[in-house]
């Protein structure tokens, strides 16, 4: 069964003809070559596959393309072109958040999502905001610090 699915991807309207049950994660990585979004668990537990769908953070490994029709999707490739995205990325780089890096694009998406809701977040809000993103390298403290740094540097953006 195939359908044409039309949606906005990183600001651009695109259309794809595919099986509507195909996972959004596979479409992004393979059909569009956007490999910044990662697969690390395949069951929505780790957050490495996160993108923004209509401004809300979701895990793409469990989303069928049929549910994406008409939506706005922003991946790390889109977020990094925005001023907010650049502030977060720079803060992560300066703040020591990045070790192996595999969880980080998902963390950047989570940071954007949480700063959108709480532009001056407390530590508790930050920890809750990234609680769906697993990291095995950092123990989280420097990611939390980096998000705080991003909030400071990007005052007024969120």
């Amino acid at each position: 069964m195939i359908r044409e699915i039309q949606f906005t991807l990183n600001g651009e309207v695109v259309a794809l003809t595919c099986d509507p049950l195909k996972r959004l994660l596979d479409v992004l990585r393979e059909d569009f070559g956007l490999t910044g979004t990662k697969e690390a668990c395949g069951e929505g537990e780790c957050g490495a596959c996160s993108v923004l769908k209509d401004g809300k953070i979701i895990t793409t490994c469990m989303v069928p393309m049929g549910a994406v029709h008409g939506c706005e999707i922003m991946t790390i490739e889109g977020l990094r072109e925005t001023q907010r995205g650049r502030v977060i990325i720079e803060a992560f780089a300066d703040g020591g958040a990045v070790q192996c890096g595999f969880c980080i694009p998902g963390m950047v998406i989570a940071a954007e999502s949480l700063l959108e809701e709480h532009p001056e977040p407390t530590e508790e809000q930050i920890r809750l905001g990234i609680s769906g993103n697993l990291c095995r390298c950092t123990g989280y403290d420097l990611i939390v610090e980096s998000i705080r740094l991003a909030a400071q540097r990007g005052k007024g953006l969120w």
């Binding site: 929505g44 490994c61 609680s131 697993l134």
Partner: protein
């Protein structure tokens, strides 16, 4: 293997497809897309036809109607958590399901129809005597959620029906005290190992005019017993300590003997004892922590 996937444009079409093919609905996909996954780069495969209903506007919304709260089945956990119309314990249960990403996708319809014994939302809903409304191309019916879920992962949903909404009646009098605890596998992003909610209503003289308690992840279905609850109803809050042991024993009896016996039983016992003891102190706050 049948691989048909429908994407109906409105509820009428969805009901027609459901009647003609029995296609199973996928809303958030957070259970079904994971259970049926086959690996990276491979389309999930279902052994029956499915239809994607994420887009149906008629299944969205949270409203108050005739003193009851209607949560339409396509409402996400995030929407439920954020809505001030929804009772506290249902919001709390929604807020603790999975992580933010899951809460933006997972729907109440999916959680209820999946009927996992570890499901979070049915616990407070059943405690609140919630009803489900089921619609088909030929009609509408309602039943108690506790009757709709018949066992682990089984419901009374007919092959031509869709779950339209959950209806939560308002209690005759607002609850005086509320309790909700979920013990997860960790502090966030956790599957429930045990969840429990309870509520008590006192009159001005301190008589208990309503008491309810429900347990999740404690057996094949949400555990709740009106007859156990009635052991307390009618008594005074001051006599609670005397009847507490009997109540705790009776409540223990409704938990499944197979469900991790020691840990769940003893935690439940301690939580219920704590809640009722705190109630006995008649604190000012409604939510017992």
């Amino acid at each position: 293997m049948v691989e048909t996937c429908y994407i109906p444009k409105d509820l009428a079409e969805a009901l027609r497809v459901r009647k003609e093919t029995g296609a199973k609905p996928i809303a958030g996909g957070t259970d079904l897309m994971v259970v049926h996954r086959r690996g990276t780069g491979i389309v999930p495969r279902f052994p029956w036809p499915v239809m994607i209903i994420t887009q149906l506007q008629e299944l969205k919304g949270i409203h108050e109607e005739d003193g009851k709260i209607s949560i339409y089945s396509g409402s996400t956990c995030h929407e439920i958590e954020a809505s001030e119309l929804v009772p506290y314990q249902v919001r709390k249960a929604a807020s603790l399901m999975g992580a933010q990403s899951l809460r933006n996708l997972a729907t109440i319809g999916g959680n209820v129809c999946n009927a996992s014994p570890k499901g979070d939302l049915p616990v407070p809903l059943i405690m609140l005597d919630a009803r489900v409304e089921l619609i088909s191309a030929t009609g509408v019916r309602q039943l108690l959620l506790d009757d709709f879920i018949t066992g682990p992962k089984t419901t009374a949903l007919q092959d031509d029906e869709l779950l339209s909404r959950i209806i939560i009646p308002k209690p005759e009098q607002p609850f005086t005290y509320l309790w909700y605890r979920k013990i997860g596998t960790r502090r966030a992003n956790a599957i429930s190992k045990l969840s429990m909610c309870a509520a008590v209503t006192l009159d001005l003289s301190g008589n208990i005019i309503d008491f309810r308690s429900a347990n999740g992840a404690s057996g094949p279905k949400v555990a709740r017993s009106r007859s156990v609850e009635e052991l307390i109803i009618g008594t005074s809050v001051d006599t609670l300590p005397d009847i507490l042991p009997r109540v705790l024993d009776a409540y223990d009896g409704i938990l499944s003997p197979h469900a991790m016996p020691q840990y769940r039983r003893s935690s439940t016992r301690r939580m219920l004892a704590y809640f009722l003891t705190e109630v006995g102190k008649r604190p000012a706050e409604q939510i017992i922590q």
